[in-house]
Amino acid sequence: MAAQDAAAPDGAGSARPGEVPALAARTVVKQFGQVRALRGVSFAALPGEVTALIGDNGAGKSTLVKCLSGVYRPDSGTVEVDGKPVTLSSPTDAERRGIETVYQDLALAPDLDAASNVFLGREIRRFKILHDQAAMRRQTAKSFADLGVGMVQDLRVPVASFSGGQRQSVAIARAAMWAQHVILLDEPTAALGVIQTAKVLDLIRRVRDRGLAVVFISHNMPQVLEVSDRIEVLRLGARVARFKKGEADVDQLIAAISGAFTNEVAA
């Protein structure tokens, strides 16, 4: 259902028919003990689009992202990559399938420089055991330049001396470098100031313009409206509403989040 859902226009004419979601969830259920965190949630992220995932605390956003990034395995339902059902056994497995995740915190090793962080665990090697720092630094600089990540600092400096926004930019740029299909961003701007947030949102748009599907969790409604091409609203572990860019305003989003509005037939 998810595949058709994503392609099926809810506003006539504006959807791209036949487009296959880069990443989708279909009636996914995830239960922790007595708590049903996800009760048959569906979700789709299209390539070249920013899809916002919003909902109140406890709506199941993070659980869904963890199902999509290989951290959790759904109790039932399927996760699809490029329209094909897959089993993501671990985050590494998800990365192999081109799905990268950026977390709000703890994503980088603070004592390592940006290039070392970008290539951590995937180092360019010489003689099998040595790393080729010059090549990694070169590629990092190039890719940061392509993405317009304004690294005002030396790439040799530990990322601990970067501002929060710069660190988040490094994390997103790293994900963009490695992601083939999808980037999942779990509240990437939660800890950032105004200017840093603007820069990170710019970066998210540039990543999208490269054709990746970007999934973006946020609590900041104006921000969601600003950057998203598509908004999916979760409530109590299920999707309750979907909007396209320009279809909703803040009041409508809040109505959907609080349960006062729905345009989704319950799964």
Binding site: A109, D111, S116, G121, I129, A141, D154
Partner: protein, 381 residues
Amino acid sequence: MSDTQHDVEPPEHAIGQAEVAAIDATVEGDAIPEAAAVEGAGVAVDTRPPWWRRLIASPVLMTFLFLVATLVIFSVLAPGKFNTVSNFHQLALNVAILTVVSVGTTFVIATAGIDLSIPSGIVLGEVFAVKALSFIHVGSSTAAEVSADQTKLWYMLVALVGSLAAGLILGLVNGFTVGYLRIPPMLATLGSLGAGLGIALLMQNGVNVATYALNPVATGQLIPGLDNLILIALLAVVVGYVGMHMAVFGRHTLAIGSSEEAARRVGLNVERHLLKVYTVGGLASGLGGFLSVAFFSTTSLAGHSTDNLSAITAVALGGTSLFGGVAMIIGTLIGVWIPAVLQNGFIIVGVQPYWQMVAVGVVLILAIYADQLRRRARNMR
């Protein structure tokens, strides 16, 4: 030294202003500016922090300058006695074994861990070496029967294998308890310190054994004019430098020390890597035991009880952070020398050598305080 990755100058002041102006500043290809990235953004500010800040920012340089200062002072105070070739030769011999062990433990400390079991690694290395020799009927359990000029290369190799086996076992135990059982390193290695020493004493019934079979390892000269012991210490530093600063192994070690969670999220197998790191530490201790028997011609069951503290002191003096994530092998080499030079110098100039303990303690605390200042300055943003 100047291009090791951690040898950094944080341009703290500049970033704040430049960031606003440089939203779209790009960095191009090879031409990553060393210290002048800000200029690329069209912001002309002096990014260089004051000299004392830069000095603090480079712990290796600071430690090195301190070492040079002590060398100069003792040379001035005792000309012709302290600054002689034979004195430096003796110093190099004295620090060689500690150098090997400290290089190994630098890796452990780089993971924000600690290895207190070094003495048991050394003593077990000694005991396994002489046991291996008696296993092939070289020497007896009480006295040396092989003089240095009667020994054969393969005797030495057998003893070396014995020592390394001891270090390997100890290292694997430490790595397993720290990495997989998640026991805090200080307690895990405190346990293996006691247990290892106990096993060594049991194996020897508490009695030391002498052997001259290994002497050429220490005092022979493969390269004329350079005692093998010193050569081995230098090789250990080179191997340690490559392993820490140029190899993927060192990169992952530092990443785990910096943020275990970040390392885990990029898919590193943290447990297995910790196992390897503690094994490196154990092997270095075992090798230290081998060299110790070779140099002193005897096991010394009670002679290494504070070697763990000496090694940790050397590593910390050298600028490796006890909080993990930052390590400097060259710094460790310098850090090994400082206590030795102070001791030697105090004796030569006629100061009570006990002052060395006081001086080393003070310098150690200053070094760690400087490390904390660096971290604080860096993390302020």
